[in-house]
Amino acid sequence: MATPLEFTEATRERAAEILDRYPDEYRKSAVVPLLHLAQEEWGYVSPEAMACVARLIGCSPVKVAEIATFYPMFNREPVGEHVLAVCHTLPCALTGCGSVFDHLSEKLGIGLGETTADGRFTLRKSECLAACDRGPVLLVNRRLHTHVSPAKVDEILAELDKG
């Protein structure tokens, strides 16, 4: 059997701080915030990561799996170094998100939900990101880009290439 995954010391401290936010008898409330930590640490939430979160909470791994499999933000498989999510809900559709997605898809040579062969980029669509006055919008990792056009996509990709 594989060695159980454990958070690094720094992440364990953050996990303890998160658990402190909830009454001790309701530690399970921390499951979503702790899954976010796991995803930050390992890039995705594997069954081993779920087991790690379950140990911190003191519940069975399946209880964590039940939550991790519900929310779209939790990656269940490895993703690219950069995750690009194009909002495709109505207000962004009205302002041209289709051409943004198509341009990204063509530039990266991947389709919806795919990751480039070099593991650098994953391309997704997102539901409404609540910035409808600044559409089309594109979420790149943790950062929201607004008024995105195919030309701006080129700039964003160049910036990511510079690292």
Partner: protein, 458 residues
């Protein structure tokens, strides 16, 4: 022309970091907290909010004072501020979270104090990474300055507030779904009754779930006083300032602050600078994607919750999606339906099965493979879902857009089916006038289309 307001949207001094508590304090920030905790009793505060006439800004337009009054006489009680803003077309909460985090925290402190709450959470949708970071920092600063923690402002009152992040599920904005999510369960909305978490909420205790804009407005009410607050807008409909977010095919998309008396026409043509390229309006969704669409003849309406309700639509979140004459309503509805199909939580069969089914039907119509019976089938599926689910999701984003866009733009959908391709008819031929179909109240079982006349018009 109604006059724009600058109450919630008051600009920050130049070069100010919205999260900077020192700048906020210098501008009189946390004055409302001082006033409430130092000079008002809990009963006086509750009375102040009742007197203000404020209706909650989360979308349902329910009286905030009444919600508070429903709080069961049990302790501990909890507060959840709802910052899970996910309704397509809505972006007012983002604006407040980005620009006024401390005003939201103030409202949460005042609300908690008024109701004897010692622990609260602000539930922020997971995709708001930068907002979550800023709010965490703002809460830490508030704690450092003695506005949170033990013995706040030497009053003996204790309160802790924390951020709780979501993870990309629309259903967590439904207040009982939010509570389930906060408890660490799948966020399936709870069966009603009890109708209000104020009776049984988080961890089985009385819980107030208020939208973050409502929280910011509580600060405003305490700051200006209920008398001045209720002078804004209309006491019969909605008091206080409203935030209207215009997006889609307008020249100047953005958030505009007015009272509820402003008309939809004024918002589109005056505030937001009219339609792009001088095009004509085809349709407008007045309060987030769930709000039934209005046609060009219906925009001379005030934006109050009651006024829009009379038109068979709703005020919702104030997120206004404007579509010009080049828009395919079949595409627009397919998009709205795809959102609903993706976000149905799956708890109730009518919604889990019915909403994606409608999405499939709409997709085949859009792709030129629509069948003769499809429009009636869509209406029938709507009827099967409406009122047959635990929460309002099945009908709000699920049914209402289908029912109203389909009925009002019936000729356009008919044209797509008859010509077996996506067509955008000339504006005049694309929609029905209000006298060509029966009024569409958003209640189940009371839904008829004058089909013969509709067909004749198509």
């Amino acid at each position: 022309m109604a006059a724009p307001l600058e109450i919630l949207t008051a600009p920050l001094p130049a070069e100010t970091d919205p999260g900077d508590i020192d700048a906020y304090l210098a501008g009189g920030g946390y004055g409302a907290v001082r006033k409430a905790l130092k000079s008002m009793s809990q009963a006086e505060l509750i009375e102040e909010i009742n007197a203000s006439g404020i209706k909650g800004r989360g979308g349902a337009g329910f009286s905030t004072g009444m919600k508070w009054n429903l709080c069961a006489d049990r302790f501990p009680r909890y507060l959840c501020a709802n910052a899970d803003e996910s309704e397509p077309g809505s972006f007012k909460d983002r604006l407040l979270l980005e620009s006024k985090p401390h005003q939201i925290i103030e409202g949460m402190i005042i609300t908690s104090y008024a109701l004897g709450i010692n622990l609260g959470y602000i539930y922020i949708r997971g995709e708001f990474f930068q907002i979550i970071d800023q709010m965490e920092a703002a809460l830490a600063d508030a704690r450092k300055h003695g506005f949170l923690g033990a013995d706040i402002l030497d009053t003996g009152y204790d309160l802790e507030l924390y951020v709780h992040p979501g993870a990309g599920a629309y259903i967590c904005g439904e207040e009982t779904g939010l509570i389930e999510s906060l408890e660490g369960n799948r966020p399936y909305p709870r069966l009603k009754p009890p109708y209000f978490p104020a009776a049984i909420g988080l961890w089985g205790q009385p819980t107030i779930v208020n939208n973050v804009e409502t929280m910011a407005q509580i600060t405003t009410i305490v700051d200006m006083g209920a008398e001045a607050y209720k002078a804004i807008g209309s006491e019969e409909d909605t008091t206080g300032p409203r935030l209207f977010g215009l997006c889609g095919h307008v020249n100047k998309p953005g958030i505009y602050e007015y009272d509820s008396e402003v008309t939809l026409r004024e918002l589109i043509y005056d505030a937001a600078g009219g339609i792009r390229d001088g095009n004509r309006l085809k349709g407008v969704i007045p309060g987030g994607i769930s709000a039934p669409i209005l046609t060009p003849e219906e925009i001379d309406t005030p934006m109050g919750f009651g006024a829009l309700g009379k038109l068979g639509s709703m005020g919702g979140t104030g997120g206004i999606i404007v579509m010009d004459e080049t828009t395919s309503m079949v595409d627009a509805l397919l998009n709205a339906s795809s959102f609903a199909a993706h976000e149905s939580c799956g708890q109730c069969t009518p919604c889990r099965e019915g909403v994606p089914w409608m999405n499939d039907i709409l997709r085949r119509i859009r792709n030129g493979q629509g069948r003769e019976e499809d429009l009636d089938l869509l209406l029938d599926v709507c009827k099967q879902i409406h009122g047959h689910t635990v929460c309002v999701f099945g009908q709000a984003p699920g049914v209402w857009p289908v029912r109203t866009i389909l009925v009002k733009y019936w000729p356009e959908f008919r044209a797509c089916i008859e010509r077996k391709e996506l067509v955008v008819p000339p504006l005049e031929e694309s929609y029905l006038r209000p006298d060509q179909y029966e009024h569409i109240p958003p209640v189940p079982g009371n839904f008829r289309l004058k089909t013969e006349e509709a067909d004749a018009a198509g």
